[in-house]
Amino acid sequence: MAANLKGPVAHHFNNLNQQLTTVRMGMWMFLVTEVLFFGGAFCAYTAYRVWFTSDFEAGSAALNVGIASVNTFLLLTSSLTITLGIRAAYAGNPKGLRNYLLATIILGVAFLGLKGREYQLDYQEGLIPNVSVLTPEAQKVVNERIAKDPGKADEKVYPFNENLAVVLHHEKFKGEPFVAYDPFRVQLFFMFYYSMTGLHVLHMIIGLGLLTWQYILACRGFFDYNARYVYIEAMSLYWHFVDMAWMFLLPLLYLAGPHSASQALEQFKVAIGLASGTH
């Protein structure tokens, strides 16, 4: 049921159809660049994953899979809401459009909020490559080791490695403790973790900015011409792509290592403050 589309045509287009298809095509081409952008990161990741499999799994085991799981569904739902938004704009229902845009924005913000909390936890656990400070627990472990064998007093301590060991062997949260991993390679994994999720977050922020703008435009009646639903659609293409990228980040970064549902639940409780974390 194609609605009767109304809308102004820009000065350089001959008719509405030309304009709409052109906009859509432009967005698709932009997505091509996005695919190759993330593709490059994934390619580098894969290259190392096949070399240092166990190390990468160890790194993954140290991540907060609870937050990631919840975020997955937040993002998925936002994909739905914006799709419904297209429909609303197309059917000439500005109010519905505004609500759907708002819902999408809220879901996206929630995602970012949780993501920020996750980064904060990682920071508290001292899981920053090349970090220079030991977490209190790690400090304790080191002290005990030195107490046991004073000879170890003067050997160099790599804070990241110690922090990682504490996290991985924290029986309350993680699955079976890891034995076979090289902490330096795990740093490599964390480089990927931070840069890839960082890029994803960056895309989320840009997307949210654009969504907010569209919301404002919607409030100002910009979308009263139903032909302009195509801009919502272009926006949704971008938003769906961000969702798509996450669908691959989840298994490659978070689910690579050994995890359990209970652990994920526990982690999420910690994240939202229902339980006390490693600290």
């Binding site: 009767n4 809308g7 102004p8 820009a10 091509v32 593709g39 390619c43 801009y231």
Partner: protein, 118 residues
């Protein structure tokens, strides 16, 4: 892509009004979108289930399989590849193809570098 908004927004004033049937593109009704969402959600649950299970090296394979299916559904229904014209398909596939080429060559080097050297 903000240029799209500003685009006709600015030109809206002077440009002449058009009103016409949109031929090649039909916007999915809500029911269809909800079904798609349901399927995607189930697949996401499946991904988590696999992630929490203990499949060894098959885990990543299964997970990527699920992710690929998810991506295809997303592209096909939410992103409307379902009814897109040939050109859009060409664009979409070219992105996949070139990413594949990048993987192919770079990984070939990573995996065969030790062969045939001194």
């Amino acid at each position: 892509m903000d240029h799209d908004h500003t685009h006709t927004h600015a030109h809206g004033a002077g440009a002449e009004m058009h009103s016409q049937e949109l031929v090649e593109h039909e916007v999915a009704p809500n029911a269809k979108s909800l079904t798609t969402f349901a399927v995607l959600a189930v697949l996401a649950l499946l991904a988590l289930f696999i992630g929490f299970s203990n499949l060894g090296e098959w885990k990543v394979v299964a997970n990527l399989l699920v992710a690929t299916v998810q991506a295809c559904i997303l592209a096909f229904f939410f992103m409307d590849l379902r009814q897109a014209d040939k050109l859009t398909w060409l664009i979409a596939l070219s992105s996949v193809f070139w990413t594949f080429l990048m993987f192919l060559f770079i990984l070939t080097d990573q995996l065969t570098r030790h062969l045939g050297v001194l």
